[in-house]
Every structure is written in C-alpha cells, then in structure tokens.
Symmetry: C2
Subunit: 306 residues, 2 copies
C-alpha cells in the first residue's frame, strides 16, 4: 500500500485548554481546533509540545482525538503526537491514532535516558512499527532535542527512512537549527516539516512539505498565505510576505510561547479558562498577554478572533 | 496520622528482566526481588531508573507490584517509582502503590519541559497530593537531574517538606553531588537516601536514613554491612568496611551499570533472558560481563549467586 499524500501547508500543534479543576476543557479544545482549520491550517498535530502533550494523561489524549472526530474534524488531517518514554504505551497511543484514521503519528524518541546509542533508538522505532502492526501506520519523527533532551541524528533518520520507507515517512524538525533541517531536506523522499515558520521560504525552496508551528495556533492565516504564495507566485513573492510572518513569530518568542498564547486567547475570548496551564508550566500574567496583544496589533494590525 | 517509620538500610531499585519478546519476565522479576531482600536489602524501590522504569508501561508497572505482593513480598518494604511527566497518570500509579500498602512512592518531577519554574514543580506535587487524596501517602522525591533533565533544587525540597511534612517525607538524591546531599541532610526531619553508596559513611554521619543504590541489585550484602557496622560499631568500623564497597561500586560504574549488571546475572544464572534490555538501552556484551565478573572475583572474591 503506498503512503498517503502528504499534508501540504501549515499544521497547528493545537493548544490544550484546561478547566479550572485542570481537566481538559473539551468545548474550547474542539472549537479551537476547528478555528485553526478555518484560519488556514491544512492539518492539526494534536498533542505536540505546544499542546502540553506530556502533561496530559494517556486516556485524555485518546479521548480528545475521538472528540475531534465526533465533532466532524476529519482524522485524515490529523497527525497527533504519540511519543512517550516507553514502548507499550507509545504503541497503544499510536495504534489508537491509526485506528481512528489519522494521517500519521508524530513520535518522539524515548526521552528519559540521555546519551543513548543510535542503535537503541533505531530498535525502539523498529519495535514500535512491529508493535502497532498496521499497514496504515505512517510515522513522522519528532526531533526537539532542546526540550526532549534526546534527539534524532540525521544519519539515524536517513537509516530509518531507508529501512521503512512507507512507515517512517517524515519528520518534524523543531531543533531551530537550519543546518539540521537542510540536511534532512537532502534525504530523498522524506517529508520535512520545520517546527517553526522562521526558515519557511528557504525550507520550501529545498522541498519542505510545510511547517508544524506553535504560532499556527494564532497565525495560521499568515503562515498559510506564505506557503500559498510560494506555490502560486514563487519564492520571491512568498519571501516578501514572509517578512512580517517572521516578525510575528519573533514577537511571540519574546515570551514563553505556550502560556502567552493561552493568555492571548483568554483575553480575546473573555474565557479565563484559556489562560490555565498544567504544572510544571505557569500561566502568563494578564500584563504579558496585554503587552503582546498590543505589540501584535500595533505592528501587524493583528486582532485575535474571539 | 503520623508518618510510618523509615526504612533504615539499603534499598534496591530492582532490575526489570525481560523475556526475548520484551515482555517482563515475571518469574525472574519476583525471584530477583526476593534475593535482594535475602541478601540484605531492607526494602525495594521497584521502578527506579535502574529498573528501566520509564521503559515500562503503566499497566506493567502496576501488575509487577501486585506480583511481588502475591509472591509474599511485603508492600510495607516497597517504595516504588511512580513519576511520569503528567499528573493524571502519575496520580494513578501513586494511588495504586498506596492502595497496595507500599511504604511510599518515589516520585520524579515532571521531566519533559526543561528549565521550568520552581513554583510550577511545587504546584505539580501539591496537585499530586490532592489527586491521590489518601492519608497513607508518603512521597520520596526523586532527584536525578543528569538523567531526568529536571531536578529538585534544595530550597524547593525544603518548602515541600515544610508545607507537607507528613507526605513529602524524604528524598532519593542521585545527583552524585555531595554538596547537594549534604544540604538536603540539613533539612530537619527529611529522610535522605543518597542514590549511591559512594558517600555512604559521610551521609550516615550526617543522619542519612540509608541508601537506594543500583548496585544493591548485586551487592546488597556489602552495602548493608556498612550500615550495620555504622549502627553497631560506629563510623570508624563502617569506614574501614566501606572502602571495598566503594571500590566495588566504582568497578561497576566503569561500565553502563544497568546492562552490565543484567549481563552479570545472565552469566551467573545461565538464563540469557537476564541480559535483555528494552530500547533505547542496548545489552552489554558477554565479554563486558565476563571482564567485570573477573574483576569483581579477583578484587573482592565476589561470586554472584546463581
């Protein structure tokens, strides 16, 4: 069975809103996912780092994917995060995503032990594929070494893609290291999503499939338009548009992005639950949210929809 | 309800043996735990780092504690590891340990996000205590920053112990940093277990409760005897005995301790399953195991029981 077509465009690792008792606010969760798609996302990557995925329990993660599907979000546009530190539970989450019909699973390397051998990481993914045991499985590796503490070196990625070309189909590279992204883009047939829109036009020029970016939670339209311009009018037109998109990203990066984006959504919607984060993250202050909102409004005329 | 008495002595974070299909070898698991106790351990810390705990699924972890209890190991001598990166599942594992009658739970800080604020870690443990909601809960914090990537600074430990004196009763300090261990030993009423026997006599001299050490899987007798000598004949007698115990530890540390100890057990027992590790760890070679066995036999007359 050939691998299904890639999702070309911007994908949001959707934020996970919490009620005041720290349960997931399912109403806000589903509405936000739909808004991201309406705003220009081609797909969703629920339970990425931006989603506080590793602060969410296994049952909650599976339940929320089902809630999206029940609310009419097509699983074929979802690449949920499924990576934990152990195989049995990662197999469980990954199999659940496959059986729901998701486009793929975005999977971290096991990240508890540090400095582990590449052969050990290879064996982990090999056993993950064996364990899920489903021809529909498509894995997007998730490389975010500065958070996970364990990364996926380019030679290992190449080996995994070559040995499992129909399963290890792509990678999200959140290293923020262009040399790494560029080397991944040289791997034939690998779908590469930079984890930020900062290098977007250069990455598209080298064949990137799109990008999976935290900021797509609030600026899907801007990022999506850069990709649309690249595809319809070429790199130069895209680059001109990209400039403001980059500055928008850098403004958000001036804060802790997850809490401040949640605070922005709380301010815009008037629903204070949006500001909640699960520990160990702490909420952003109202003042931080207001300062960023003012900056985005002043510099970009940006107004978050309520 | 007063906190129960501390376990005075050496505690083994028991190794987790795997069958060739990577399921847990329950027969070896239970037999090894019993041997550790017979060899001189006062207690067990199943599912510490040495147990490859974070490579084991939630259901497996709960099942194995039950298997120990069913086999006659008293839960009152167990302090199992229960820490994951998220609250709901950590609450589930911790509550299970409490309901089984365990002496305590050894709990990592949430370790996915790095560089998180102390207040966020504080809030995590506060919500863990609220979530378990059982007066019997006793938490031993687990500080192993070089592996987890997130540690528990001394002022935070002090604050948690002061605010929850009957719940946050102790800490396992695997930092290997004597200054840190010493500062923890200055916190009144806190039970401190160094994560290694290397500083054992100095730590006992400052009031340490015992030690929880990887090497207790194969040298419980030696470590236990050092503590017994300290208690019965004083620091000087303990220190004289401690010298060889330290050298034994340093010999094991010359290798990757988890795989090489498993290989030693495979060689001693003739059961090759003992050598298996779950990815991302790789097994130690037969040659490594033989070299360490020869060194331990030559230097210490050490012979691992089959």
């Amino acid at each position: 069975m050939p691998a299904s077509a890639p999702l070309r465009g911007v994908i949001a690792p959707t934020l996970t809103p919490f009620n005041d008792d720290m349960t997931i606010a399912e109403d806000l969760y589903v509405a936000h996912a739909k808004r991201c798609l309406a705003d220009g996302c081609i797909g969703l990557a629920p339970f990425g780092t931006t989603s506080e995925a590793l602060s969410v329990g296994m049952d909650e993660r599976m339940r929320m994917l089902e809630a999206l599907a029940e609310a009419g979000v097509d699983p074929a546009c979802m690449i949920p995060g499924t990576g934990l530190t152990n195989l049995p539970d990662t197999i469980k989450l990954t199999r659940h995503a496959v059986e729901l019909g998701c486009a793929g699973a975005m999977t971290l390397p096991p990240f508890y032990f540090k400095g582990v051998p590449d052969d050990g990481l290879y064996d982990y993914f090999r056993r993950l594929i064996d364990g899920v045991a489903d021809d529909r499985l498509q894995i997007y590796l998730y490389h975010i070494p500065q958070v996970a503490g364990v990364g996926l070196p380019v030679p290992l990625v190449r080996r995994l893609h070559q040995d499992f070309p129909r399963v290890i189909v792509g990678i999200k590279d959140s290293s923020g290291d262009w040399e790494n992204t560029s080397a991944l883009l040289d791997i034939e047939g690998l779908r590469v999503y930079p984890g930020s829109e900062l290098p977007l036009v250069d990455a598209l020029g080298k064949g990137a499939t799109g990008c999976i970016s935290a900021t797509a939670n609030i600026n899907a339209a801007g990022i999506g338009e850069t990709i649309r311009l690249f595809d319809t009018r070429g790199a130069e037109a895209a680059a001109a548009h990209h400039e403001a998109v980059r500055k928008f990203r850098l403004a958000v990066q001036g804060y802790a992005p997850i809490p401040v984006m949640k605070r922005l959504l709380a301010l815009a919607s008037g629903d204070g639950r949006w500001a909640n984060t699960r520990p160990p993250l702490l909420p952003a202050s109202v003042e931080e949210g207001q300062a960023l909102a003012a900056q985005l409004a002043g510099d970009f005329g940006f107004q978050l929809a309520a």
